[in-house]
């Protein structure tokens, strides 16, 4: 119990006296996970729309595959990306292993199925009447798609938030492909794992609390964006 209290105290004092090293770690965490999320969204959202609007064979199979990949163990993704980027692997010439870019690649792979699958769910749950109404009112198929995407935007936002939570909390993949190199590829979660290894439980827990705090801030920001969108539609 005392160590829990100590951790909260430590987290608080760490936040008050944010040193440059810790700040760099936090910035890198947000940068890596944020970039991965943008990539996953840019690729996943159009794909989910395609799945939602078009009918084609093996669609069911592809969606089941995506749903399965939502549960990919990060360590497996890390190992896969490691073997891909290793100097002895097919993309070794790019010299990307143990760089933040490698971490972004791994996390994009983790985030992609979540964004795609959950966005797809949101798109197909839009009331079919909206599609009919839109078409009846003379909208082109493209305009209709945009209307449906607009209707589904809260679900899509939830999908993005879920994916963000997944990559921000993930440690297995980035530890393998990033190498947890001090000052270069060390992020919040790998620092927490390292400090736990070193037995600095209070510091590790304090970092965990800070990580949660950052996630809360980002989620609040996204919530504000959502709210604004709502007002815009009503007015």
């Amino acid at each position: 119990m005392s160590s829990l209290l100590e951790a909260f105290g430590k987290a608080f004092s760490l936040m008050l006296h944010l040193n440059a090293e810790l700040l760099a770690i936090i910035v890198l965490s947000v940068k890596v996970s944020g970039t991965a999320l943008v990539i996953a969204t840019l690729l996943g959202l159009p794909l989910s729309a395609y799945f939602g609007f078009k009918k084609f064979p093996v669609k069911g199979l592809m969606i089941s595959l995506l749903n399965t990949f939502m549960g990919l163990p990060p360590v497996v993704v890390g190992l896969f990306v490691y073997l891909l980027l290793s100097r002895s692997g097919p993309l070794g010439f790019m010299a990307l292993l143990y760089t933040p870019t490698a971490m972004i690649v791994a996390q994009s792979i983790l985030a992609f199925p979540i964004v795609t699958s959950l966005s797809h769910s949101a798109i197909i749950s839009v009331d079919p009447l909206i599609k009919q109404a839109s078409l009846t009112l003379g909208a082109t198929p493209f305009q209709t798609s945009v209307t449906i995407l607009r209707e589904a935007r809260y679900g899509i936002m939830s999908a993005i938030i879920a994916a963000f939570g997944r990559v921000m909390a993930e440690v297995g993949a980035i530890l393998i492909v990033g190498g947890n190199i001090a000052g270069f590829t060390r992020v919040m979660t790998t620092t927490i794992a390292l400090e736990t290894d070193k037995g600095n439980f209070e510091l590790a827990l304090a970092l965990g609390i800070i990580l949660l705090g950052i996630s809360l801030l980002i989620n609040l920001a996204l919530h504000v964006v959502q709210k604004r969108g709502l007002v815009g539609v009503r007015s």
């Binding site: 940068k31 944020g34 970039t35 943008v38 990539i39 840019l42 290793s86 100097r87 002895s88 070794g92 010299a95 990307l96 292993l97 143990y98 760089t99 933040p100 870019t101 972004i104 190498g179 947890n180 190199i181 001090a182 270069f184 390292l194 290894d197 070193k198 037995g199 964006v225």
Partner: protein
């Protein structure tokens, strides 16, 4: 939203570009015991200041660290399993291997010493006794330097501990392994550095039950990845770091390193 996307894309591009224009940096595959002790934090700034070469340390078990070098994912290795190192050199994956420093392993166990190891002189005999009594023993089980040493001791006394009820392979770093041994009232083999650095902090109710057997000597070595195997490795810079480590200056830096409790953890012994 668009702005954020643009900004994040810019960040990504910068990251990619940044990694292309990296300065003089080498990747050193090393072990958790050296990294966690704080040794690198102490000596690397000295080397970087002198040469401008930045050493990036990726800490794994010795087995994984050597594998990183074999695959060309590191420029050099700083590890502690001499036999594995010499084998990797003989296979042509590494060159320029040198002894750098040493410390030693000790066997630790519960304070009440259920297998009555205290007073024994031979580490191998001690393990045999632990096996005979069926006293719990926690193994790293991760192909690390410590694990390699432990397995060589079992082999010496002809005991195959794998799969035995009293033998727990945990696959964790040294400090976690000690903690597990403590929770399970078990014996384990540890390096003196980790033991000294953590016994008080982790409130381990354990004691050293056997030490000073010459077989428990723990040699650390450095070696560069062979540039003939992997053309891209930074052999020159890696060699510069190796030469510094075994130079008078590097050896003094290692000797003067103390952990936060004031313990000397490593003793230089380069020739």
């Amino acid at each position: 939203m668009k702005k954020t996307v643009l900004m994040l894309t810019a960040v990504l591009i910068l990251t990619v570009v940044g990694s292309v224009f990296a300065q003089s940096e080498i990747i050193c595959a090393s072990t958790t015991s050296t990294e966690n002790s704080g040794l690198f934090n102490y000596i690397l700034p000295l080397f970087e200041k002198k040469t401008g070469i930045k050493v990036k340390v990726v800490a794994r078990g010795t087995g994984a660290a050597i594998e990183m070098g074999r695959r060309g994912d590191a420029d050099m290795a700083f590890v502690h399993a001499k036999e594995q190192e010499l084998r990797a050199v003989a296979e042509g994956f590494f060159v320029n291997r040198h002894d750098v420093m040493y410390n030693d392993f000790v066997i630790i166990g519960p304070t009440d010493d259920p297998a009555k190891i205290k007073g024994m002189k031979s580490a191998a005999d001690a393990l045999k006794k632990i096996a005979e009594r069926g006293a719990a023993f926690v193994s790293r089980g991760d192909n690390s330097g410590t694990n390699t040493k432990e397995l060589s001791l079992w082999e010496k006394v002809g005991v195959d501990p794998k799969g035995q009820k009293w033998y727990l392979e945990v696959g964790q770093g040294m400090e976690k392994t000690q903690r597990i041994a403590n929770e399970k009232s078990a014996y384990t083999l540890t390096d003196r550095g980790t033991w000294l650095a953590t016994k008080d902090k982790d409130k381990l109710g354990m004691v050293i039950v056997l030490e000073d057997d010459p077989v428990l000597f723990n040699q650390y070595g450095v070696m560069a990845v062979n540039p003939e195997k992997h053309k891209h490795v930074k052999y020159t810079e890696a060699t510069e770091f190796i030469n510094w480590l075994i130079s008078k200056e590097g050896q003094q830096a290692i000797a003067s390193f103390k952990d936060s409790l004031g313990n000397h953890l490593f003793y230089p012994n380069a020739e």
